[in-house]
Symmetry: C3
Subunit: 209 residues, 3 copies
C-alpha cells in the first residue's frame, strides 16, 4: 500500500516540478518543444543525478516512460493554459513543497537501500529534491534560486536527515519518512507564509560589514 502512496506522491512531485519548468519556459518565450524539454529536465534531473551517483543505472526516469509522460502533461498544461497556472502560483508553491518533501525522503531512502553512508544519503535526498530546479535555472540563464535565498535546500536536507537518523536508530521506515516530509513541509510553509530566511553573507567586497 505505502508503495502505491509513494508512487502517487512521486508522480505528483514530478508533475509540479514540470509545471515550474513550464512556467519559466513560457516566461522566457521558449517554443512548445523548449517548454516541454525544460519541464522534463526539471522533473527528472534530481532523481537521475541521485541514481547515477548511487549506481542505480539506468535511472528510473530513463528506464520507464512514466515520468516523461507526467512531465509532458505538466509542460502542455503550462503552455496552453499559462494564465491558469500563473494565477495558481501560490498553489504551485504548495505542491512544489510537497514534491520537494517527497523527493527528499524517497531519495534518502533509496540511497540508504543502496548502502550509502547515512550522512551522504541525506545529501543525496537533498540533491534529488533540488537538482531539477538547479538545472532549470542554469538552462534559463539564471543563478539557481536555491543558492540565493529562501529555506529550500535546507528543508530538503532536514527531511533527509530525519530519514537517515531513523535508519541508524532502527525506527520504522514509513514513520521516519512521514516525519521527515512533515519537517520539510513545515519549513517550506514557514518560508512561504512567514518569510523565514537563512542569514545571507554580511560582508561587503572591501571586507567591511
Amino acid at each position: 500500500m505505502s508503495q502505491i502512496v509513494l508512487a502517487v506522491l512521486d508522480g505528483l512531485g514530478s508533475f509540479v516540478f514540470a509545471l515550474s519548468g513550464g512556467v519559466l519556459g513560457v516566461q522566457k518565450g521558449f517554443d512548445l518543444f523548449g517548454v516541454l524539454l525544460l519541464s522534463f529536465v526539471v522533473a527528472v534531473t534530481g532523481g537521475i543525478t541521485r541514481d547515477v551517483l548511487i549506481g542505480s543505472v539506468p535511472p528510473v526516469s530513463i528506464a520507464s516512460w512514466h515520468n516523461l509522460a507526467i512531465a509532458i502533461a505538466g509542460g502542455l498544461l503550462t503552455f496552453y493554459v499559462y494564465p491558469l497556472v500563473r494565477s495558481r502560483q501560490r498553489d504551485v508553491l504548495l505542491f512544489d513543497a510537497i514534491g520537494l518533501a517527497v523527493f527528499a525522503v524517497t531519495g534518502t531512502t533509496k540511497a540508504l537501500a543502496f548502502g550509502i553512508d547515512p550522512v551522504m544519503a541525506a545529501v543525496l535526498g537533498m540533491i534529488s529534491g533540488i537538482g531539477g530546479g538547479m538545472a532549470r535555472d542554469v538552462l534559463a540563464g539564471e543563478i539557481p534560486s536555491v543558492l540565493r535565498a529562501d529555506i529550500y535546500a535546507v528543508a530538503a536536507l532536514a527531511a533527509g536527515a530525519v530519514v537517515s537518523v531513523g535508519h541508524v536508530l532502527g525506527s520504522w521506515p514509513a514513520g521516519s519518512m512521514l516525519l521527515g516530509a512533515a519537517v520539510c513541509l513545515f519549513l517550506r510553509l514557514m518560508a512561504i507564509y512567514r518569510g523565514w530566511r537563512i542569514p545571507a553573507a554580511r560582508w561587503r567586497d572591501d571586507g567591511s560589514k
Copy 2:
C-alpha cells in the same frame, strides 16, 4: 561495412560539432586551450551523457582518444582559420544537420541494444544529438538555443522515434536508421531554408495573449 559507414559519419558529426564549439569560443575571445576544451565538450557531451545513463561505462569518448583527436582537429581549424569556417557557416549548418541525424539514430540504436524502453531510447537519441550544443551554450553563458527556437531537438527526436518504431515492428535496423536520419535531415533543411518553426509560447506575463 555499415559499421564503417556509421563510424565515419559519427566522426564527421563529432568534427562538425567541434567546429560549432570552436566558432563560439573564438567569438567569446577564449584562448586556444579554451577553444579546444569547448570543441571537445560539444563533440562528446551528448554521447557521454547517453552512455552514462544507459550504463555503458566508460563512455566511448572516454575509453578511446579518437573523438578527442577529432575534436582537437575541429578546434584547431576554427582557431587558426576562423574566417574560412565563418564564411562557410551555411555549410557548417548542413554538416551539423548530418551530425545531429547520425547521433540521433546511432544513440537510439545503442540505447535499444542496452535494453532501454523504446520511447526512452528515442529520447536518449535526442539527448545524444542535442547534449553537446546545450553544454556549449551553457558554458558560453547563453540560454541553449535548442530551447528557444528552431526545429532542432524535435528533428532529433523524430529520427529516434523512427528507429524505435522500426525496432518494435521488427524492421531491418539499417533501413530504420536511414529513414530516421532522412526525416531529421529533412526537418532541419526545412528549418534552415524555409524557416519552419514550432509555435512559441503566446502568453504575456500578465496572462493575456
Copy 3:
C-alpha cells in the same frame, strides 16, 4: 605512507577549492546554505565526474562524508571570516595551485588504475582538477574562467600527461606523480607571478585580425 601523504594533499585540495567556492558565494550575496552548497560543489564535482566516467560508483565524495566535512569547514570559514580569506587571496591562489596539481595527478593515476587509455587518463586528471571550478562559475552565472584566460586547465593536463607517460614507460608511479605535480605547480606559478598566458583567438567577428 605515500597513501597518507596523498590523502592529506587531497583533503587540502578539497579545502582550498571549497574556499574558492565560498568566496564567490559571499561575493554574490548567497545565504549561508548557498555558500556551503557552492563550496561542496566546487570541492567534489571534478572527482565525482571522473569517478562516474571511469565507473567507480559510488564516487569517493558520495561514499564517505569526509569531503563533505572538509567542504563545509571551508565554506563556514569563508562565510564568517570573509575578510581574512579575501586578504589572503594570493595564498588561496597558491593553495589552489597545489589542489589543482594534486587532483590532476591523483585523478590520472586512478583512471589508469581503472584501465583507461593513457591519453584519456590524462584528460580525466585534468577534468578532476578543473571540474569543480567550472561548476562553480556556471552556477554563479559566469563563463568558466578556465575557458577564457590563464594557464590553468593546460597545467592540469600537463601534470596528467607526465603521469600517463610515466605509466607507459613503466616508471616508478610516485616519481611520475611528483614530477607531474611539480610541472603543474611551475606553470601555475609562472601564470600567477609572471603573467604567462596562452594566445587568445585573434579574429574579429568580420574575419579580420
